[in-house]
Amino acid sequence: MDSYRLLKYVRLAISHAVLIAFAAFAVFPIYYVIITSFSNVPTLASISIGSLIPRPSSLTLSAYYYILFKNPFFLWLKNSLIFGVSSMLIATAAAFLGAVALSRINMPGKSTLIYFIYVLTFFPFTVTVIPLYFMFAQLHLINTYYGLIIAYSGGSSIFGAYLGKIFIDTIPREFEEAAMIDGLGRFTAFARILLPMTGPVLAFVALTSFIGAYTDYVLANAFITSGKLWTLTLGMYYLAVTNRATLYNVFAAFAVLMGLPIFILFIALQKFLLRAYSLGGLKA
């Protein structure tokens, strides 16, 4: 019995060691960028191990001041939000309607469509981005809000429709049928009954489409040349890569301002999101 208990303690000790090591690995870069954003770094080379555990006296908001008031941060933020929110709304609506049709309405060719959607994921974005650029140029949609919103609106709607179908398949049809007997039309029944029940999947589609547009660099870089339409990613790329003179604490402050809201949202919604991911990954 004693050797059994000893074995158990050894097992738990090794487990904790593994988990602590990976948790530290996972958290460190985030911790590091937050600490750096509050430190006063006159030259890049002077960042040291010592600065990892900051003394209160060395903390400063100067990097934040610089990024917020010496750069067009708010303009970039406004543009990123316009692109993110618009494409989120379009993608989520399209995903919901598509999911309802794939799950509930009898029509030929549904499984072909699903295979087809899967095959589309094989194509790299470089296949579509060049033709899209020339298509949109012909339609005079380059350097406009509409152009990029349309280009982003695909977002995760295709995958979302597939995910939504799997999810709606698990909801008994009796729910809408009861509502239709009560005199609601089919569309109203879907909207009143299925829409709220599909919440977790739709939250997932909404967040991933928003993040897709919010953190896209490739399409924004191709479709936007006017500084007025610059997004946060273009600004960040400029500060981090193009303009090598940028101080690392300024970049860090930018990273925190741009990433932390998404981070908090993700952690707050983790239950919903993880359920949606498991659903997509593990239909097996």
Partner: protein, 292 residues
């Protein structure tokens, strides 16, 4: 009734179909067309069909073989540690008598929760020679600083460690939920029958996880094969072209050199090779029927 349903179903699917047609299918057709023309910087306004010439150029250039090999190194080299780490962590987190599982899980989510475009740039700073924290930490352990992105081998190490950081949370989460889906009675019966821990793992856990492991493995193979940002932002395909993969190379051909025809041809070659791999893996694992 069926006809009417088909029509209404079509209306519901219209937005998705429009998105697929306008944003995916038409551009793909257009790209295939471009790959058969001489559309580039030198023939921007007047281009013509040139048959297979772009594909012949690619094959003759000698770059194709090494880019293919590098794409394999990137995909397999990333996937093996990512899946192994995710699977081990999921097994560790699945022990019922372990205290603090939810807290650990939340910490594991950190890399996933922060947008990767940003964290890749953060990592890029961390690998930097002069001020990067990786070299500072190594100095503490008495190891000399390294110019990570000047050598082929250290470039791959940096890329794969960064990609491991970006992706292991996904695998941990998905494998955890698959493990929780295994009926407990199976383990209890085996325990009563006196099966060892190792035996329970090989006879229950592994067979029950087979579908999850293959589906996630294949999907992640496809995703990693075409994963653009880590390489584009960290090494840009360098040193030289030693860490170029198909997507990054195609992107640079198009946006740095305006060789749209060559970029399109590379993208098509990329898709054909990936599709062949995916079909073989789907066939072997028998996962195809699970998708639909």
């Amino acid at each position: 009734m069926v006809k009417r349903d088909t029509f209404i179903g079509f209306l519901y699917l219209l937005p998705i179909i429009a998105i697929i047609l306008f944003l995916t299918l038409y551009p793909i057709g257009y790209a295939v067309y471009i790959s058969f023309t001489n559309f580039n910087l030198y023939h921007f306004f007047r281009y013509e069909l040139v048959g297979l010439q772009n594909y012949i150029t690619i094959i003759k250039s000698g770059a194709l073989g090494s880019i293919f090999l590098q794409t394999i190194i990137w995909t397999v080299g990333s996937l093996v540690p990512m899946m192994a780490a995710g699977f081990v962590l999921a097994l560790v987190l699945n022990q019922r008598d372990l205290v603090g599982r939810t807290v650990y899980m939340t910490f594991m989510l950190f890399p996933w929760a922060f947008p990767s475009f940003i964290t890749i740039l953060v990592w890029s700073g961390m690998w930097n020679y002069e001020y990067g924290i990786v070299n500072k930490i190594m100095a503490l352990m008495g190891v000399h600083s390294i110019y990570w992105f000047n050598y082929v081998s250290t470039s791959w190490i940096a890329l794969i460690i960064t990609n491991l950081w970006l992706s292991f949370p996904y695998f941990t989460v998905v494998f955890s939920s698959a493990l929780q889906g295994i009926p407990r009675e199976l383990y209890e019966t085996a325990y009563v029958d006196g099966a060892s821990m190792f035996r329970r793992f090989t006879s229950i856990t592994l067979p029950q996880m087979k579908n999850a492991l293959s589906f996630v493995g294949i999907s992640s193979f496809i995703f990693t094969w075409n994963n653009f940002y880590p390489i584009y932002l960290l090494t840009g395909g360098g040193p030289g072209t030693a860490t170029e993969i198909f997507v990054v190379y195609a992107y640079q051909e198009a946006f740095s050199y305006s060789l749209y025809n060559i970029a399109a041809a590379y993208s098509i070659v990329d898709t054909i090779i990936l599709a062949a791999f995916a079909l073989i893996m789907l066939r072997i694992s028998g996962i195809m029927k699970v998708i639909a």
